[in-house]
């Protein structure tokens, strides 16, 4: 296909607009985390209940008020990763760990596509080079997809 210079410019502009739009839509969404880095609640429960195998370092990267009400036993609260302070604390917590450490981050504050915390946390762990960091896939919220399923829960600070 032969395009004139003018047509080529238009096509290029449209492509750029689409690219920018696509990036803006998906860049901050949990939906853009690859499936290979997700772990389902039932898979995690099996790992936690199994007498064998490495147990992950579990980090809650959402709201403290929600963490206080219910969290996965043994998991640590780090602060909302949608805020700079949360990312700083996450980096501080994991920086000394071997890069193949099994880590699971989770939030569950909101439906998956609206969660503002898991994507920045996943990005931070990827940037630090962690090769075995997973994100707990919580489709609706922590109450519906973890607590109501009867999975183990702890309360408090």
């Amino acid at each position: 296909m032969n395009l004139s210079v003018e047509e080529g410019n238009v096509v290029f502009t449209v492509a750029v607009v689409l690219l920018i739009f696509g990036s803006a839509v998906f860049a901050f969404q949990a939906s853009s985390i690859p499936a290979s880095r997700l772990i389902n609640p039932e898979e995690l429960v099996k790992i936690l209940q199994s007498p064998k195998g490495e147990k992950p370092l579990m980090i809650q990267v959402g709201s403290h008020v929600l963490y206080e009400q219910a969290h996965i036993p043994g998991s640590e609260y780090i602060g909302p990763a949608s805020r700079e302070i949360g990312i700083l604390q996450l980096r501080k917590r994991v920086e000394a760990l071997p890069r193949n450490k099994f880590i699971v981050i989770y939030c569950g504050c909101c439906p998956w596509k609206h969660c503002p915390n898991v994507k920045p946390a996943d990005d931070a762990l990827q940037a630090l080079g962690f090769t075995n960091a997973k994100v707990l896939y919580i489709s609706d919220n922590f109450g519906a997809n973890w607590v109501d399923k009867g999975y183990p829960v702890a309360k408090g600070e």
Binding site: V10, V14, H64, S82, K113, P116
Partner: protein, 178 residues
């Protein structure tokens, strides 16, 4: 294909992508999960919480009004989208007896104060905590809203983003004389 057609196709593609994006944002909670009529209509648990203004908010003060109790947070996208609609609803039905109360589940009041000003919120907002979350059956995902009748009983519970028309329909039904 001439230039005009190419531009038209590009605009159509952007419009479709935009439409899909916004459709996607509002489809995240299965429809059946959004609305839960509360069986037995239990009394809404009483609570006292600090308001943003520094005063204490007592739920009991609002007995006799229809109360829409909204658990939300500034970092919660669907919560933020609901707020302007709640402001409108409060304006529209205030004189008939609707009182919206926001309970922020943010970890601190600073972002809430800022949000309150920016969104011209016209109803009281208190800072929530784990205790009130547990009182209301566990607020383990946001938003969650309760519609409370004049007698203090919970009439409905909405989990996840809910269309404002649902709240308005239920509010109007409760405002009608029995």
């Amino acid at each position: 294909m001439d230039l005009a057609k190419k531009i038209l196709i590009a605009i159509a593609a952007i419009a479709i992508a935009t439409g899909l994006f916004f459709l996607n944002r509002h489809r995240s909670v299965p429809a059946g999960y959004r609305v839960a009529n509360v069986a037995g209509h239990p009394l809404a648990p009483e609570f006292s919480l600090p308001e943003l203004s520094g005063q204490t908010l007592d739920l009991s003060t609002y007995r006799g009004k229809i109360v829409l109790l909204d658990f939300w947070a500034t970092w919660c996208d669907p919560c933020r989208e609901e707020i302007p609609h709640f402001v409108e609803l409060q304006n529209k039905y205030r004189d008939q007896g609707l009182q919206i109360i926001g309970v922020s589940m943010d970890d601190g009041p600073e972002p809430v104060r800022d949000f309150y000003q920016r969104f011209h919120m016209n109803y009281p907002v208190a800072m929530g905590n784990a205790k009130i979350g547990e009182l209301y059956g566990g607020v383990l995902g946001l938003p969650v809203a309760f519609l409370i009748g004049r007698d203090g009983r919970i009439e409905a519970k909405h989990i996840g983003a809910t269309d404002i028309s649902v709240f308005e329909r239920e509010t109007k039904a409760l405002l009608q004389p029995q």
